[in-house]
Amino acid sequence: MRREMCFINMSKESQMRAAINQKLIEMGERERLKELLRAKLIECGWRDQLKALCKEVIKEKGIENVTVEDLVAGVTPKGRALVPDSVKKELLQRIRAFLAQHST
């Protein structure tokens, strides 16, 4: 499939997403946000919780057989749910502020 086709099929929302994503990467803000998120998730204990979840999955499957995909499938739903609202809010606010500052 050619790439131009993809754009035609993209909904308005995903176009917006793509544009925002592009801006974030271009300005290097995405890396900063990633690091902020990483720091916040460590701070609130999310990382430790996820580690524990992973250990459970590994125990269940056996260390010899487990794959990354098993881990991803096993922890993703819970992992998403465990992200505190305050962290999401902060990230959202940062992105909003960034876009407001750079919307020209």
């Binding site: 790439r3 993809c6 793509a18 794959t67």
Partner: protein, 524 residues
């Protein structure tokens, strides 16, 4: 992946593979320079690009070549120019059709092997990834990446030789230990309990960060190190702090003897000695007396701004002084708490009088940071108009410490009487210091006590973690401490006896020293 590692990676490790991998990291994963970032995201109508090296010259956008997605765990083939998303298995399809076994995750830089069906951990590749990330972050001014602790060779050896592990669970009582009273030494015990449960101080000592260079073995910091070991050893019998007491007597002579002492005085003396001994050990670097980087200063020191305003020319002279604690006046019989300043009626404080009538910690802090008229008997030479004039003085927080100690002045010593003020002062579990900051002064000068506008700003928020209480009279009494363990469990430490306490017990207690810990720490 098999424990032996991935054998398929060798197919990639040919010719100039290291340089190629670096280029991929630079251009598509961590894109340090503005130019490479642009390349990473700009959609370019590209022709056919034969090999991985050319991607720098004719870059394609980072999106799935099958579905156009930007996210969905985008991976790049390591053998040709192809981006595909992992979530919809487009990169898998590519790998299968072209037999290109390796792909790199564009968000985190991990390398996936489609034969092993797992991410692989190749030492050389990881080293390159690490170096490139560090470079990219430096370029963008993000700073050093937080990385997990990795044991050194020596530490690995130690871990092997000491196979016994202690697990911290939600209900475990590690860290709780009673202290024997050595004869009116509860003033010391109560402070030791507060210090050993100060999260950052605990982290410092348990990670063995004190490197002592003192010649004699009279270093109080070393003794604290030892004390933390005792507290977190898991032993249940009370600890006998005789060595600590001896060192305190040696270094703070005014506290020596078997008399009852003031816990606040002990706290300040202890911090002072610890600070001095840290200085000794962190060496000659600390030659600036105003800026010490010792752990005590890092945790306990804040900056207090004092603004003296001349009533004639309104010139302001500002000084900033370091502080370890904040001593707060309480409403007593001889010192009416309100009105705030001469002239105001003081009946209503900005409309939020407390229904219960109880004084709050916030009240005390507001009083502490109010403009105070220095009066006609205390004229100060104004640096603006060079004459002796009446002035007002106002204290605000210039820099907040990580641990804020509030000292409620319950012991009243005036010419006429000496007594203990037992007034109930309510204090919160969570405290926002924003209103008392120098930066918030403007709004307060207009007589407005404002709620912080930005409720998401957590920079100045604190949590209570220890409360020292005094029972008895001015002449004789007893100190106990409530300390917080884990996130919200409270314990009462009464010398050798430790009992579980409820949050209500803590908040209903009288309160003499209140210890708050910053909720969010800045990363340096």
């Amino acid at each position: 992946m098999s424990p032996a590692g991935c054998s398929h990676v060798n197919g990639f490790k040919v010719d100039n593979w290291k340089q190629n991998l670096r280029v991929i990291y630079q251009c598509f994963v961590w894109s340090g320079s503005a130019e490479t970032r642009k390349r990473k995201c700009v959609v370019e109508e590209g022709g056919f690009v034969p090999d991985a090296l050319k991607i720098t010259f004719k870059a394609k956008s980072c999106m799935c070549h099958m579905c156009g997605a930007h996210l969905n765990r985008l991976h790049s083939c390591l053998h040709c120019v192809f981006f595909g998303c992992f979530s919809k298995k487009h990169i898998h399809e590519h790998a299968k059709n072209k037999r290109h076994n390796l792909a790199i995750d564009l968000l985190y830089g991990g390398i996936y092997c489609f034969v092993c069906q797992d991410y692989i951990y190749d030492k050389d590749m990881e080293q390159i990834a690490k170096e490139e990330q560090r470079k990219a972050w430096k370029l963008q001014g993000i700073g050093e990446k937080y990385s997990m602790w990795e044991p050194t060779k020596r530490e690995l050896e130690l871990l092997r030789h000491n196979p016994k592990r202690r697990k911290i669970t939600a209900n475990c009582t590690i860290g709780l230990r009673g202290l024997i009273n050595l004869g009116n030494t509860c003033f010391m015990n109560c402070i030791v309990q507060a210090l050993t449960h100060t999260p950052l101080l605990r982290d410092f000592f348990l990670s063995d960060r004190h490197k002592c260079e003192m010649q004699s073995n009279s270093c109080l910091v070393c003794e604290m190190s030892q004390l933390f070991q005792e507290f977190y050893s898991g032993h249940r019998s009370p600890h006998i702090p005789f060595r600590l007491l001896h060192l305190v007597w040696t270094h703070a002579r005014h506290l020596a003897g078997y008399e009852q002492q003031d816990a606040h005085e002990f706290l300040i003396a202890a911090l002072d000695v610890l600070h001095r001994h840290c200085k000794d050990d962190n060496g000659k670097k600390a030659n600036n007396p105003n800026h010490c980087n010792c752990i005590i200063d890092q945790i306990f020191t804040g900056g207090l701004q004092s603004d003296v305003t001349c009533q004639v020319c309104h010139g302001v002279s500002t000084t900033i002084d370091p502080f370890w604690d904040i001593s707060l006046d309480l409403p007593g019989s001889s010192t009416p708490f309100w009105p705030l300043s001469p002239g105001s009626d003081g009946s209503v404080v900005n409309g939020d009088s407390h229904p219960s009538g109880a004084t709050t910690l916030t009240d005390c802090l507001r009083r502490f940071t109010r403009p105070e008229h220095l009066g006609s008997s205390a004229k100060i030479k104004c640096s603006g108009c060079h004459s002796y004039q009446e002035s007002t003085k106002q204290l605000t927080m210039k820099r907040l410490p990580i641990v804020a100690c509030f000292h409620l002045k319950r012991f009243e010593h005036s010419a006429k009487l000496r007594r203990k003020i037992t007034t109930y002062v309510s204090f919160p579990l969570e405290l926002d210091m924003t209103p008392f900051m120098a930066s918030s002064k403007e709004s307060r000068m207009n007589g407005q006590y404002q709620q912080p506008v930005d409720s998401l700003n957590n920079d100045n928020k604190y949590s209570l973690f220890a409360v020292v209480n005094h029972q008895g009279t001015l002449e004789s009494g007893h100190y106990t401490t409530f300390i917080r363990q884990h996130k919200d469990q409270w314990f009462k430490c009464d010398d050798a006896i430790i009992t579980k306490a409820s949050i209500k017990d803590v908040l209903d207690s009288e309160g003499y020293l209140l210890f708050y810990h910053k909720q969010f720490l800045e990363y340096e």
